[in-house]
């Protein structure tokens, strides 16, 4: 059976991944770490590496990291599944949700 490496890790908090970095766009400048009011990130030990989300459950999704980032698309907010809203197209009645 194929499986990922088996590790003794504790559970993630939920939500555990408030933002997602795009490794192709983020250049590890760490500006998001500077502006985050709650200090949820720490710099990667390797210069230029993606910031590490050390305290994900303290994030309150203010969006400052995304707003102030100089590289569009490097960071995006990742709304917890249970908090993703729904909407409906008025003409077609087609239902959608935040993905």
């Amino acid at each position: 059976m194929n499986h990922s490496p088996v590790l003794a890790t504790p559970n993630f908090p939920t939500p555990g991944r408030p933002v997602i970095f795009d490794p192709d766009v983020c250049n590890g400048c760490n500006l998001c770490i500077v502006v985050c009011p709650e200090d949820v990130f720490i710099p990667h030990p390797t210069k230029g590496g993606l910031p590490i989300i050390l305290f994900p459950e303290e994030c309150y999704y203010c969006g400052a990291c995304v707003d102030d980032c100089n590289r569009k698309g490097a960071i995006r907010l990742n709304h917890p599944l249970q908090q993703r809203v729904r909407w409906k197209n008025k003409k077609t009645n087609e239902h959608s949700r935040l993905r």
């Binding site: 030990p45 590490i52 909407w87």
Partner: protein, 665 residues
């Protein structure tokens, strides 16, 4: 790399190492009120420092936005005077609102906004996006919200206010000390209740100890949170306020003997629930979303009515006072407004019995916010201007939903009203209360200088008793910066007691010592919250409240010493929770001392069931004396004539300013 791999702490550790600064005026908390206070104090020529727990670029409740510039009765379009509006706001809160700071807000909101504009902020529709809209003044290009006749709430592009204000601080030479959690107010020779000597704090990354000597201190640390409810799990994007505002200022000032009032006011928490949706991010018709059209599952419109119950047929009619009414305060009908207010000032809203009508089959859930059918300018005002500039909406709502495919001209955003709560609100259990998450709440008692009973200790913004709003924080910060600078003029530094510093270092670094039975900050927070739910919830009597006192004292004596933190960040959170406990004790003490029930304060005592007895229509003021808690009272309206008290001080402030705000251009 997973964040569970143990990493070395990325910052140098400097526990106990001390850095010293001197300032004429020290501002604690670099949020909206704090940066404004610093700018104005610096404009008088004073030497100014800010100690901020986060980073002043984006910290605080107003860090990522403000869409409504509230109560600017001094703007050229206003149909009401500052006096009229502040008296209405105080009356609408049953007398329990800070008349002094509300007057400062109403009388200098526009003046303050113009300074913000000079710093580079967009406060009017210079790009003519809304030319011809009924809420626009074609000459000044100001955009108004709610009451289009009386025009005292201004729509603004506030998502960038905070970084601009920080730039202005730097231009004015303000010493900004970011990432330092103020923990302690220092008084002359360490004496209880004596004049202010400065403050100390701990760096949240290095653990270094920072002492600032100051002739005046402005507290601008917002309010206590997480006193009744705490969960770090599932909160996510439903969190309304950040984790850093926990009432450190309340606790610090309490410890040195400052007076507080209205601390007994707690309300059922509108935002506490982790089962809710992003604030301003689901369909509704209040606040930021005013005056949105709401339709049911079949597209049938929910009626709007004015305060007289008259059904309003057009969108525009939702933005004018009712017949016989001079002006209205907000409107929207008001699941999120904790206090229903006086009928005289009530605004248009969705028909109040909508839920009953749905239950009877007249409407089919779910409901949707339907901007598709609204005039284009109203749709663009809600989606793009208000949702977008409102605090923490630009990225989490506007950008995230737009990228997710939501189009307000085509799609209707679902509301969760009546299937799981109202507006942005969830049905919560009676014990799930909040102290200051929303609405006006308890805070530091101040005089017309915004100074507390501790000489040299000033307050501004949401930290003040009976106050709220971004423009309130800005205007009171701006005012108090000058008052504090004037106070500091010609004074020497008060002596700092080395013994107070030694004792303080012992206290703030105590969680660093490993204990065999250590307790995490989160568990302590949840433990305090549980005591508050059980003994200071919706149901209160002397017995419950004394049990509350007893169990909080027990936590202070037996659990706080077990608190442990293994890095400077967790040390900050641990000290925060110790302060939350202090705030809880203040709330219980005030609740024990109000021997009457009160509608506006959402306060009910089983042993004093009389609602609003005339004898108790007064501010209950508490302070920690040297031995016991001391109680005193102030009558409603104790501030006297608003204009007569404000005008000379405002004039004095103005003449103290030596520098203009920088023009960004």
């Amino acid at each position: 790399m997973s964040h569970f791999d143990s990493l070395p702490w990325p910052y140098p550790i400097k526990y106990g190492e001390q850095t010293n600064y001197d300032a004429d005026v020290l501002v604690l908390g670099g949020g909206i009120a704090g940066v404004w206070a610093a700018i104005t104090a610096a404009r008088t020529g004073a030497r100014v420092a800010i100690m901020e727990k986060g980073d002043t670029r984006r910290s605080g409740a107003g860090g990522t936005g403000c869409d409504h510039w509230q109560w600017a009765a001094d703007n050229p379009g206003s149909g009401v005077t500052p006096n009229e509006l502040s008296n209405a706001l105080v009356a609408n809160h049953g007398g329990w609102r800070n008349g002094m700071s509300t007057y400062i807000q109403c009388a200098s909101g526009y003046e303050t906004l113009l300074e913000l504009e000079a710093m580079g902020a967009k406060v009017r529709d210079v790009d003519d996006e809304f030319a011809g809209a009924p809420f626009r003044d074609e000459k000044t290009k100001l955009l108004y919200a709610y009451d289009y006749d009386n025009r005292f709430v201004i729509r603004v592009w506030g998502a960038n206010f905070k970084p601009l204000l920080r730039m202005e601080c730097l231009r004015r030479g303000v010493q900004i000390v970011d990432r330092v959690n103020a923990t302690t107010l220092l008084t002359e020779n360490g004496r209880h209740g004596a004049r202010i000597a400065g403050a100390a704090g701990v760096n949240t990354r290095t653990g270094a100890y920072v002492v600032v000597r100051a002739k005046a201190v402005v507290l601008a640390t917002n309010r206590p949170q997480r006193v009744f409810t705490f969960s770090s799990e599932h909160r996510g994007v439903t969190a309304f306020r950040g984790a850093s505002n926990v009432g450190n200022g309340h606790a610090m000032a309490w410890r040195i003997g400052a007076e507080f009032t209205m601390m007994e006011k707690t309300i059922r928490s509108p935002f506490a629930s982790p089962y809710s949706y992003p604030p301003y991010g689901s369909g509704n018709a209040i606040n930021t979303w005013y005056p949105c059209t709401i339709v049911d599952a079949n597209g049938k419109e929910a009626p709007w009515v004015d305060v007289n119950g008259k059904v309003l047929t057009t969108v525009e009619e939702r933005c004018h006072p009712a017949e016989g009414q001079k002006f209205f305060i907000m409107g929207g009908g008001n699941a999120s407004q904790p206090h229903p207010g006086l009928k005289q000032y009530g605004g248009p809203r969705l028909i109040p019995d909508l839920e009953d009508r749905m239950m009877r089959g007249e409407f089919t859930p779910p409901f949707y916010a339907d901007m598709t059918s609204m005039p284009d300018y109203e749709r663009r005002a809600i989606w793009g201007l208000m949702v977008g500039q409102e605090g923490r909406t630009r990225i989490p709502v506007l950008q995230t939903y737009s990228e997710g495919g939501f189009d307000p001209a085509r799609d209707m955003l679902q509301t969760y009203d009546f299937i799981r709560g109202h507006g942005m609100r969830e049905p919560v259990a009676p014990q799930e209360r909040t102290f200051g998450e929303i609405g006006v709440s308890g805070g530091m008692m101040v005089d017309w200088d915004m100074m507390s009973n501790i000489p040299g200790l000033f307050g501004a913004g949401d930290l003040l008793f009976g106050a709220q709003d971004h423009s309130h924080a800005a205007t009171t910060g701006r005012y108090v910066g000058a008052r504090a600078a004037l106070h500091a003029q010609g004074k020497d530094f008060a002596g700092i007691s080395e013994e107070q510093i030694v004792r303080d270092k012992e206290r703030v670094y105590a969680p660093l010592t490993a204990k065999p039975d250590s307790l995490d900050w989160k568990e302590l927070n949840a433990g305090v919250a549980r005591v508050m739910q059980n003994y200071c919830g919706e149901v209160k009597n002397a017995e419950l409240l004394s049990l509350g006192e007893m169990w909080l004292a027990d936590i202070a004596a037996n659990e706080v010493p077990r608190l442990a933190a293994d890095n400077p960040h967790k040390l900050m959170r641990a000290l925060d929770v110790a302060d939350i406990l202090t705030c809880a004790q203040m709330i219980v003490a005030a609740s024990q001392r109000r021997k009457a029930s009160s509608s506006t304060l959402h306060f009910s005592r089983l042993d004093y069931p009389d609602l609003d007895p005339p004898d108790w229509q007064k501010f209950l003021v508490i302070r920690k004396g040297e031995t016991d808690i001391e109680t005193s009272y102030r009558p409603h309206g104790f501030w006297g004539d608003l204009e007569a008290n404000y005008a000379p001080r405002a004039a004095e402030n103005r003449s103290a300013l030596r520098h203009k705000v920088s023009s960004a251009a």
